[in-house]
């Protein structure tokens, strides 16, 4: 089969003779991928920022597919089902899954306890091959995979595997009250979706901050929010204080993670691996939120540590909330929003690229070429599928 093959930082190869995955556990399923996405957090892997990313691995944690084989223990899925597969690998049985913390499963990642298993996201997240391939092994097939509702566009469905739930949960964790001012750092797909979802919780004002004009223009239209370029400001924190009556935003969302730019000391120490990437966005969020405000973090940070303004967290009485999105918990509500036309996830997709050209897709996304917001990969075996049957 065709699969993406990681060869080292900034190096991707299309492998054409990768053996197809096999059932390795009674609760496994094999899925033929119909669509997969490249996530902003895949770029952290691509840039060599995530420890234990091994040469030869296939990335990809956002995908839909058709079930081609199921293990003997699988009861809820059958061959031929078209499913969207949440990026979390969750057992459904451990205490965390039972409490709907599906992003924190205790039975899917032997290498580390801090993070549950994630498809195609290094051996630090369990060592599973991902969906940027023609076929994928899907563990715990009765728990995560969800049948795509009939008539749903599969581009909407694939956007429900990570981007939409993560953006939604970012807003949800913000505890937004009606009329609140919400500031989102990062106008990538997650940030734009977080800004869009902030309105669903009753925000009175939504501001998005980035340094790329094309993304800000996109965000302004898609999320109907204010958008500002921090490179045009002397200091984004002062700007945000001024525009919030010098009090600070009620809620700040960090949708950037470990590759934020804007603070030289953070950039340099991040690149030298003296910390796990740059924590600029998180520091700006902490310093821009009001006293007693809430900072919600969905930007991905590597291990082991980052330099953040912990003194300000204490002195301002900030509530810091963070987690990997619990996709399965949020799916029923989000499917409803898509079906009712409240959310249009596929509207974020700007590039549709054959899987065979995955190397180019990564470069375009990473180098911010061609006004790229979100690239979609289409396997050669799935060019006919558009709408779920």
């Amino acid at each position: 089969m065709i699969a993406m093959n990681y060869r080292g930082p900034f190096r991707i190869r299309t492998e054409r003779n990768r053996p197809e995955p096999e059932i390795m556990h009674p609760n496994d399923a094999i899925v033929r991928v119909t669509r997969s996405l490249i996530c902003g957090s895949d770029l952290h892997l691509y840039h060599g920022m995530v420890p234990d990313t091994r040469v030869g691995m296939t990335f990809g944690h956002e995908f839909t597919g058709i079930v081609t084989e199921v293990g003997e223990g699988v009861q809820n899925l059958k061959v031929g089902d078209h499913v969207l597969v949440p990026f979390n690998i969750a057992c459904g049985a451990c205490p965390f899954c039972k409490q709907e913390l599906f992003g924190n499963c205790h039975e899917s990642n032997p290498q580390h306890t801090a993070i549950g298993g994630i498809f195609g996201y290094s051996h630090a997240a369990g060592g599973y091959d991902g969906g940027q391939a023609e076929y994928v092994r899907v563990p715990y097939a009765d728990v995560g995979p969800t049948k795509i509702p009939a008539g749903m566009n599969i581009e909407d469905a694939v956007m429900l595997t990570d981007v939409t739930p993560t953006g939604y949960q970012a807003a949800e964790m913000g505890g937004i009250q009606k009329g609140d001012t919400v500031v989102v750092f990062g106008a990538g797909p997650i940030g734009i979706m977080a800004a869009r979802c902030s309105w669903l919780f009753g925000a009175g004002r939504v501001i998005i901050i980035d340094h790329l004009d094309y993304r800000l223009e996109f965000a302004k239209k898609y999320a109907m929010c204010e958008a500002y370029n921090f490179k045009e400001m002397h200091d984004p924190v002062v700007f945000l204080k001024r525009t919030t009556d010098w009090f600070g935003a009620d809620v700040c969302i960090d949708a950037v993670g470990c590759e934020a730019v804007g603070t030289p000391s953070q950039d340099i120490t991040g690149r030298l691996f003296l910390q796990a990437g740059s924590a600029t966005a998180l520091n700006w969020a902490i310093n821009s939120v009001k006293k007693g405000g809430i900072v919600s973090v969905v930007g991905v940070y590597g291990m082991p540590w980052n330099m953040i303004a912990m003194g300000s967290v204490l002195n301002k009485g900030i509530t810091l909330r963070a987690n990997q999105a619990s996709v399965k918990r949020l799916l029923p509500r989000l499917i409803e929003h898509v079906q009712n036309g409240i959310l249009d996830p596929k509207g974020l997709i700007t590039h549709r690229i054959p899987l065979e050209e995955v190397n180019e897709a990564y470069h375009i996304f990473s180098a911010k070429r061609d006004n790229c917001i979100k690239p979609l990969l289409i396997p050669p075996t799935a060019t006919r599928e558009l709408i779920a049957a």
């Binding site: 390795m24 420890p51 691995m57 057992c91 409490q99 060592g127 190397n359 897709a361 289409i378 060019t383």
Partner: protein
């Protein structure tokens, strides 16, 4: 935990039901409850994890949960020293081997809070890249760095601009 305590927390027991309803935390010893003022300010609504966490008492039955069947271990898979056993499933993407594998083995001797764990893994990643190149050459493959870095996309920008007008599948087929 002794047998008596285990029985006390057994599924179906009165205590278990109390935990499910949030009235009792069975991890707390009876002696603690004699401390003056114990629990008088407890507020079940004060839950900063809401709505991420569906609080149903599962935290307190953690030693009793029935894990899924175990995936057979057919290759070397590292296990965090912060857990007592292998998880029920695990990935088999790239088994450790060579010098990078040895370095990873060293890293997994330390916990997730230890600098040696993470920095050794990062070092192993860089060694692994060199091993990958050597492996390529040994198979007669010369890595095409220009293509692997996706620089071939630079010349396609104009085509992409034009193809934006086409429906997605047509566009993908066209290219």
């Amino acid at each position: 935990m002794d047998t008596k305590a285990k029985n006390r927390f057994a599924k179906g027991s009165d205590t278990y039901q109390e935990v499910l309803t949030g009235d009792v935390d069975r991890k707390i010893a009876d002696t603690v409850k004699n401390i003056p003022g114990w629990g008088i300010d407890a507020d079940r609504e004060n839950d900063p994890t809401y709505p991420m966490k569906h609080r149903n008492g599962a935290d307190y039955e953690r030693i009793h949960y029935e894990a899924p069947p175990q995936q057979p271990l057919t290759m070397k898979v590292f296990q965090s020293i912060e857990r007592p056993r292998m998880t029920s499933v695990f990935g088999t993407s790239v088994p450790p081997r060579g010098l990078s594998g040895a370095l990873r083995g060293f890293a997994y001797r330390y916990s997730e809070t230890d600098t040696r764990h993470w920095m050794t893994l990062l070092l192993a990643d860089r060694v692994n890249v060199v091993e990958g190149v050597i492996d390529d050459f040994s198979k007669g493959i010369v890595p095409n760095i220009f293509a692997e870095r996706g620089w071939t996309a630079e010349g396609n920008t104009i085509d992409r601009e034009q193809s934006k007008k086409l429906p997605s599948v047509q566009r993908s087929v066209q290219r």
